[in-house]
């Protein structure tokens, strides 16, 4: 196994995640979005497994397995069922159009590269490239959260953000506690999903009803 190939494959997988992040931004159907997310998680899982392999760090396989089982299968399925039950699977209400969002996303990728590139060459190139991709994924996830009105799609945004974090964490060679952290994070996500399930009334974070807002915030006029 040459150094080059290891690098290329990691690079490819990380790049794939960025692409899939764009795909998430592009989706305007709920079911499509969930499928794209499952794919996102799958690529992550593969990437983590590859990192486990090339870093010779078996504990990372745990992370990869979690990613695969939990994020690529359980959560998309659960969310899918919620979506179907709430009957909101058709459209995703966006705040700004898909086009401008994608353009802005491209800008974000540029920004991530711009801030990561000056990293001195002595840090290894793999980490650096990986990091730029991970940062892009994080920023795109955040962008998704704020450009979607629908709670489920916001959750998907958050989870893709988290995938970016795991990508970065596993890319950092020899980082301790990665498994623990990824488990902790999965718990967080589980909570969020449970929250969505429990409080179905809040299928929208975003409401235009001012009266509702006032009463929600206890600042009744």
């Amino acid at each position: 196994m040459t150094r080059g190939l290891a690098f290329d494959i990691s690079h490819l997988l990380a790049g794939g995640m960025v692409l899939l992040s764009f795909a998430l931004l592009y989706q305007d159907r709920m079911s499509g979005l969930l499928r794209a997310y499952a794919l996102h998680a799958l690529v992550l899982s593969t990437s983590v497994a590859w990192q486990a392999y090339i870093q010779d760090a078996p504990h990372l396989y745990v992370t990869a397995t979690i990613a695969l089982a939990f994020k690529a299968i359980v959560i998309p399925v659960a969310l899918h069922r919620i979506v179907m039950r709430l009957g909101i699977h058709r459209t995703i209400e966006t705040v700004v159009g898909v086009g401008p969002t994608i353009l802005f996303g491209l800008g974000l990728v540029g920004l991530s590269v711009a801030v990561i590139l000056p990293v001195t060459a002595e840090s290894d190139a793999l980490a650096r490239e990986d990091l730029a991709f991970a940062l892009s994924v994080v920023l795109l996830g955040l962008l998704m959260m704020i450009t979607r009105r629908n709670a489920v799609s916001q959750i998907v945004g958050f989870m893709s953000l988290e995938n970016g974090l795991v990508l970065a964490a596993t890319g950092a060679k020899g980082m301790p506690l990665v498994v623990e952290i990824s488990v902790a994070f999965s718990i967080l996500i589980a909570f969020i999903v449970i929250g969505i399930v429990l409080f179905r009334i809040r299928e929208r974070f975003d409401t235009v009803d001012i009266h509702a807002l006032d009463s929600f915030r206890g600042e009744r006029r």
């Binding site: 801030v115 920023l139 955040l142 959260m145 409401t207």
Partner: protein
Amino acid sequence: MLTAAGAAIFLLLVLGLCGPLHGRLPAWTMQADRLAYGGAMAACFVLMSVGLATLSGAGDGDTLTATLPIGLPWVGAHFRLDALSAFFMVVVNLGGLLASLYGLGYGAHEREPARVLGFFTPYLAGLNLVLLADDAFSFLLCWEFMSLASWLLVLVNHRDPECRHAAYVYIVMASIGTFCLLLAFGLMAGPDGGYGFTAMRASALDPGLEAVVLFLVLAGAGSKAGLVPLHAWLPLAHPAAPSHVSALMSGVMTKVAIYGFVRIVFDLLGGPAWWWGLVVLLLGGLTAFMGVLYALMQQDLKRLLAYSTVENVGVVFVGLGLALAFQAQGMNVAAALSLSAGLLHVLNHSLFKSLLFFGAGAVLVATGERDLDRLGGLIHRMPRTAILFLIGCAAISALPPLNGFVSEWLIFQAILLSPQLPDWALRFAVPATGAVLALSAALVATTFVKAFGVAFLGRPRSAEAEAAHEVDHWQGAAMTALAALCLAIGVLPALFLDLLAPVTQALAGASVDRQAGLPWLTLIPIAEARSSYNGILLLLFILFSSIVPALVIHRFATRATRRAAIWDCGFPQADPATQYTSASFAQPLRRVFGTLVFHARERVDMPLPGEVRAARFNVDLRDLAWELCYAPVARAVEFAAGRLNHLQFLTVRRYLSLVFGALVLLLLVLAIWQ
């Protein structure tokens, strides 16, 4: 001596417990109010004695210092008793002593005495501590503590919304002032935190920074003292407190503010630049003039007195400004004269303003009224209060041979030394300020003719005024003591001027010649050929030339007197409402200055013949300082608060957008910075 002072101050602090204890002490002990006021009198007496002892014995120039291991940890709390502190201690504690005496009687009329008792003595302690503090932290701590205590005292009548408003404006202004002083100290201490006054005295600042300090102190101490245009809180807050507290606030706390100014500008900063005097002088003149005009227009007796405080502070600042101007030219004797004049006015004002506030408090107790237009004829029902109040009015109007005249006369003497100043601006400004001061002095007389005339003379304008009764002996005694002091200083100014010699010696490097040894106790501030004044002789002359004719007439002409109905040019009006009111008394001068200074507008609504409705007359007066300085700030804060308030009602998504925005912004900054 510092130990005695410390013990007295500690006693004052402890006596604050009388507030919560009020009504809870066992019957056989002294009641809490007696305990508090009595204790305060004792403590003030001790502190005043310490001050007097220091002043009279401080000729050898040594000052007492003490450092306590409290306060700012690595600095410690420094206290220092020098001539300046001692002089102000005399002023403060004389006021405190008599206010406590007055409180013994006045306090019985409080609705909730506990609210006064709890803060009255700590307030006195705060006033004293400011004078003793010798490092920036202790100074500001005590300064702000003083504000805090007085704020709570203003809130005594907390059920009255106006009172709450006054208290609010007061505490916010006090805080602004404190921050100004804090910034000034920050500059003087430098980034390494040389907070001790000793260190500040030793270190020299860049002239530009010194100028900044001057303005900050003018804003900080000036706002507390009531310098125009920062005075607007003062006429709200001072009258709102119980009268003996009003007397302390007006008569004493403004003096502590002046102390702060003198301490920082004369003592801690280096030598003044020539234009400092100009700035202080002009501000003082403006304050004096505006203060008295506002006072003249007031209808509320206590508010009138509060505005008059603004005027007197202006007079003091004129004295201080002159001192700075002379000092900048190295004319130390002239500076000493100006400073003495200003400081003597500090003492004088504390006396007659306390007297007047006590009188107003007596009227309030007797009638429940502060509104001049509901008073009248009190001279018949409150004879003792009337004559004492009259003495106060005469003193504040600078009538010889009372004390107000002496300090005013000294300031005029200082102004007349101004031709020796080399700067053109000052040469023009000083006489112009003199003219303004003369105008203010004349207006003060008008104001107090109005105050006394409308409240005490004439016929009662309301049932309350008709049913008034004389106040008790505690209050009477306090007022009598003050009136006697007013007369004493007026008649024997030389003795009191000598007390100031160590103060000016320390601050201006010179002092007015010793006066006490001169024949007939004449006051000769500079040279005999130049000017002199003798209060005793003048008093004797006036008494002689008034009493002798009276005796002669009564002996040789006739002493027959007949009481008859009012003549009034043959058309006597039975209704007391036909008397001149405070507004009508002020009307001629309102016409002269009103449109310019107050944007005054008079509206007459006269019914046509045959209509039965009442005629109405309305006067709108606008306080420009309020409208130009205070209101815009309040509006701006209100506007910004209203705009930003939308941020409380966003959705989670929008809040996330804010986070995202912050992140992108910081990343951009990072990208550009690299």
